[in-house]
Amino acid sequence: MHEIDPQFGDLKSDARLSQALRGLAASSGRGAPAEVGAELATAFRRHHARRRLVRRVSVGALAAGLLVGIGVMSLGSRSAHQVPEKEIVKEQPSSVPVKAPEPSTVAKVATTPPRSAKKQAKGTANRNLAASNQQFLALPGYDPAIPAEELSIVRVRVPASALWQMGAPVSPGSGARKFMADFVVSQDGTPYAVRLVQ
């Protein structure tokens, strides 16, 4: 066993040791060198500059994406309304109420193999629109907001007087003479436009 040096006997006192420890704490310096702080400040600036850049790029990309989306949607809706808008000429507005043609008088233009009625109507409408250069006349109930997919064309034989009442270009003197006409109708049968075939 080592003998305790009497010179250090006072270190047995907690107070003396505490004092020595305080001296040690004081001699340990005040903290990290200034270079450490400077490096950290640089790292902080770099980190947040990168974060800002990332944030800006993200916001830019999001805005660009939104613009592209809006553009695509706008083009889509324009093309959806393109056919009726081009085909239907808004002229001779008439306040005469228009009745939808009676189902019994509706003659399907094309006789195609059995398909669903909706598909058949669509196909017929497309063919008729493409085949005829004659323009449709808008009827009072025409609503441009209705999508083209919900419209179909039906060919019916109607009396001249009824066509004249609708504003179609027929002579009122034609009397009971019947004309073949194409009607643009909605799914519930409401006519929106008419075109004379003969």
Binding site: F8, L11, G23, A26, S27, H48
Partner: protein, 190 residues
């Protein structure tokens, strides 16, 4: 160290937003204690600088890593410093070079607080004390570094070391006894 947690939290929030002044305030507040703790635990100034840098880099990169409900920011920072120091010391096995490091830089590391030093018997005593602290087992060295050298309360130290305040007091008592014995023995062997 006694700054209010609310203020720390606000500074941390500002830091997260990129406010450099907030970062500087937090750095100035905690770099000293963190650096000295790492220095007392490792006995190596390079390790202490590295640990200080890593602690604050973590704060810059992930300020949300600190969860206010788990204690004050100081405890979080000391906890990170403690783990980093332990890892660095284990990795580089600096234990053997501790004495050299202290002997080489001992005088240059002194502050100008000559009054405190003059109250000690001599600088030799200070050197012995440094060596004695570094020679303590880690769990005792921690409590000496925190409670005696950084003047942390037993409660805070207990929260940091994840033990009870009674355990801290017990370890500190034991550590002081060991220090006194070591100092006496070193003087005897000289």
């Amino acid at each position: 160290m006694a700054d209010s947690p609310l203020e720390d939290r606000e500074l941390l929030r500002q830091l997260h937003k990129g406010n450099e002044a907030a970062f500087t305030a937090l750095y100035e507040r905690y770099q000293g204690p963190i650096y000295r703790f790492a220095l007392h635990m490792s006995g190596n100034t390079a390790t202490a600088e590295e640990v200080t840098q890593q602690v604050f880099m973590l704060l810059i990169g992930n300020p949300k890593g600190y969860q206010a409900d788990k204690g004050p920011l100081s405890n979080y920072l000391f906890g990170v410093a403690r783990n980093l120091t332990r890892r660095v010391v284990q990795r580089s096995r600096l234990d053997l070079s501790i004495e050299e490091e202290w002997l080489d830089t001992g005088d240059s590391g002194l502050t100008s607080d000559l009054d405190v030093l003059s109250e000690l018997s001599n600088t030799e005593l200070l050197e012995f004390l440094r060596k004695a602290v570094l020679a303590l087992p880690e769990q005792y060295r921690e409590v000496v570094a925190l409670c005696d050298l950084e003047e942390m309360s037993y409660g805070d130290a207990a929260a940091l070391l994840e033990c009870s305040a009674g355990t801290v007091a017990s370890r500190l008592h034991r550590a002081r006894a060991m220090l006194k014995t070591k100092l006496s023995l070193q003087k005897c062997m000289k």
